[in-house]
Symmetry: C2
Subunit: 496 residues, 2 copies
């Protein structure tokens, strides 16, 4: 596929220069203003010797300069490597090296983390946003066209192996993701998309891409603040918002007896199916919830459930977007309706692969299909029900936690013999990780947690650790993570 399209932002600024592109607090940018700013910043970045096909890492806040930065890298044909703010310095250093990022663009808010990274990765080039501002833009030919097979962004995800893998998202992946969503949700002239999810996640980045492709404004929030967001949703400028369950709970709790503006037409809920009480609360408040299933590898949604179906098909994630396909496999055999197996997807929004991970690519891709590792089934009407996220994935407040990754850190402690991690339900976060450890010497929970802090983002650190005699394993010695929970249930039973 060597398809080209006009440079997205430039084309948008040419076609509808005066439409609003971005709103943040009291400030507003039209597409034409945004493009002018982006052009300038791109030419400043070019002055650093950064050129087409280079990778540049970003560690900046959910603020307008991040939006500008993302678009500026696109003008240069530079791949943006998105660092999750909450990662440990160790994790970030790994991703910076793995992606061969030429430079890390960050800001003083992250000074402490940056010092740590530098101590781990002495060869790293870094520049702060405010220093970049002082650079002189150089004469530089920005891209007129985007090749759809060019890698636009890289986001890391862990999976079963424990070693994070860089998911390559091409311009084509983002384009088709936006188009697939538009064929499901429609596009209206007065649309506006609220983004209070991180721009370093596909949930946030995909909003930016849709904004430019559709010609609609992004209402950007640095943090999730339910009070302020509810005020905006009552006003009627925002028609669509992306959330995870935790956010939706907080919004509803804060909403009291009032309702959103009638223009608000889509609460796009990612990160697993919503529980019935949440859906019923939304129904009562007339909040149209679209549940979705998607992942970094599918560049956002790939399966979506419309509000009309949300209670009829409780627990379902819906049907594929128009350009995408779905099948359920048991090894090489495609399963009929209602038989659970591995969820396998295909579509032009699906990643071209993991960066430099031949083995993982061979294992996860076949004949254009991507094997998600998630377990589910499709009913006779074609609705997907996700039963288990892949590799016992834990989703905590919208963040993915891969048990294998946490276990690897636990086991790297000299006193730990075996470790198992699983998620337990949590009212606030959906799930939280808990660890089960077999240790060979005396070891306290506190010691182990402090050890984790060095290597893991805070949200990945087990909220509880249990010392046990042995871990449940099957005949081939594979850890049965789902049985770990029995330790807790047994514990509770003993207490009663």
């Amino acid at each position: 596929m060597n398809q080209v399209l006009p440079n997205f932002l430039k084309q948008r600024a040419t076609l509808t220069p005066n439409r609003t592109a971005l709103i943040f607090e009291e400030e507003e940018w039209s597409f034409s203003e945004l493009y002018q700013r982006v052009e300038e910043v791109a030419k400043k970045i070019a002055s650093l010797g950064i050129k087409i096909n280079d990778s540049v890492a970003i560690l900046t806040a959910n603020r307008p300069y991040t939006v500008i930065l993302i678009h500026a890298l696109q003008q240069l044909g530079v791949t943006a490597v998105f660092l999750n703010h909450r990662l440990s310095a160790n994790e970030m250093a790994f991703q910076l090296k793995d992606s061969e990022s030429k430079i890390l663009i960050s800001e003083v808010d992250f000074a402490k983390k940056l010092d740590e990274i530098k101590s781990l990765y002495s060869g790293l080039s870094m520049i702060m946003i405010h220093d970049m501002e002082r650079l002189d833009p150089i004469q530089y030919a920005l891209l007129e066209e985007f090749h759809l097979n060019r890698v636009c962004s890289i986001m890391y995800t862990s999976g079963t192996t424990g070693v994070p893998k860089g998911v390559m998202q091409t311009y084509g992946n983002h384009w088709w993701s936006a188009i697939g969503s538009s064929l499901n949700l429609g596009i209206k002239e007065d649309d506006g998309w609220l983004c209070a999810v991180p721009l370093f996640h596909i949930s946030g980045l995909s909003i930016l891409m849709r904004s430019v492709i559709y010609g609609i404004p992004v209402f950007l929030f640095e943090h999730f603040e339910e009070q302020r967001i509810n005020e905006v949703l009552k006003k009627g400028d925002v028609t669509i918002m992306s959330v995870v369950s935790t956010m939706l709970y907080r919004l509803i709790e804060n909403l009291d007896d009032s309702k959103y503006h009638e223009c608000f037409r889509c609460m796009l809920l990612g990160g697993g199916p919503a529980p019935r009480p949440l859906l019923e609360a939304c129904l009562e408040k007339k909040i149209p919830v679209f549940q979705t299933y998607g992942m970094t590898e599918t560049s956002s949604q790939i399966v979506t459930l419309s509000p009309e179906d949300s209670l009829l098909k409780l627990g379902s994630a819906g049907k594929p977007l128009f350009p995408s396909q779905l099948k359920i496999m048991d090894k090489d055999i495609q399963l009929p309706a209602n038989r659970p197996g591995e969820i396998v997807v295909k579509g032009p929004n699906v990643t071209v692969g993991y960066l430099n991970r031949k083995e993982a690519n061979d294992a996860n891709f076949a004949d254009g299909w991507f094997y998600t590792g998630d377990i589910g089934y499709v009913d006779e009407e074609g609705y997907l029900f996700v039963m288990d996220r892949r590799s016992d994935l834990i989703i905590s407040g919208g963040e993915n936690i891969y048990p294998a990754e946490v276990e690897e850190v636990l086991m790297s402690h000299p006193s730990v013999v075996e470790a198992g991690v699983t998620g337990i339900e949590d009212a606030q976060w959906g799930q939280i990780p808990v660890g089960f450890v077999v240790s060979k010497a005396s070891l306290t929970i506190e010691e182990l947690i402090n050890f984790c802090k060095e290597y893991l983002a805070k949200y990945k650190i087990p909220k509880q650790i249990y010392f046990v005699d042995s871990l449940p394993r099957n005949a081939s010695n594979k850890l049965l993570r789902r049985k770990l929970i029995d330790f807790i249930l047994k514990d509770e039973k003993d207490e009663n």
Copy 2:
């Protein structure tokens, strides 16, 4: 580009089976009903030995079975060759041979024309719709996916050479045309598109494709009947309609003092810019006119002007659709704003080329750009103004007439020495063709027109013929078609 998407109609029938797909007179089909019918017909066609990559020609009315037939061919991966009803038997026979169509599917309404074609092309296979109905469907694996680079349809267009060329429109061309339009006009859940233009034209076929891709109904009309159409537009089920100026005049004239339903949001006007009085009449009646520029080779619109701009940018065709690009060239040099030259376009909606016409392909395509032959300029804000349709193209009631093609027929008459054809303005049809002939023997207008009837569609036959002593030519003996009109002006002057 080896991009695949799910089979459009099958995917639509799976995703939204109960949405309305097609409305014709009192009948209605949901996408699920349409797909069932299409599946059956596809398997009947397969029983004729027709298989993937074959070409099949269609000569049928603007009625539901044509819609079913078009989709049925798509299920088989068969290229549909669309015959314009108004062509002469000679023209049709040429297109059938040139496209190597395996079979012609037609109906008794065209019996007389079919007999003529058979006498010209004895080897032709033919089947009538009602005979096809009686076939038994066979077991046959229909396509699960559409390859975007597969040729979906062929429509003939003439151009400068006089010999018609088959424009190959791929699935990708149709897909991107639909997407480009959606990013401009938006997609609303309650949209419905009225089709009173021929399905054998790209204007009609593109409505079918959009219907399936967007999941919206087509309101199909066999003929253009302003009274009935106005009634429908007042009711509110239709939100978009495709027209040419002639149709719009007749609609407005018939509309009297009433107005369309407020849901009606787009009158998509093709075939050249609209004159000011027409636009003003639409403004007064609150009819939102979107003027467009497009052609068979761009698989429908490529440049569109929104209603807000229609009076501000009077005479403009607007800006490119998002996936498309536009430049003005003088031979190899790209011209700046406001300088007229050849209109050159690029985009994934632009044809992959003419069937088996290497010379024309070499002449018209370079570096992914298509040289339209039309003359125009782009103003400093990026709005296109089309000055002259290519090759002195005459547009009469929405049909293209290429003077060279008509001239070739005139000159094939034994008594004609030279012939020139040009268009003159006409209140009803926009333009009509008139011929200028140098003859070597006594020849009457009637004789010559009867001669034309054998070789040309009725709309292409000159409405007036003038016998003259010589034709205006330039130094290199090239016919100056635009000077032909001087004969008439001189004539009128002489009369006064």
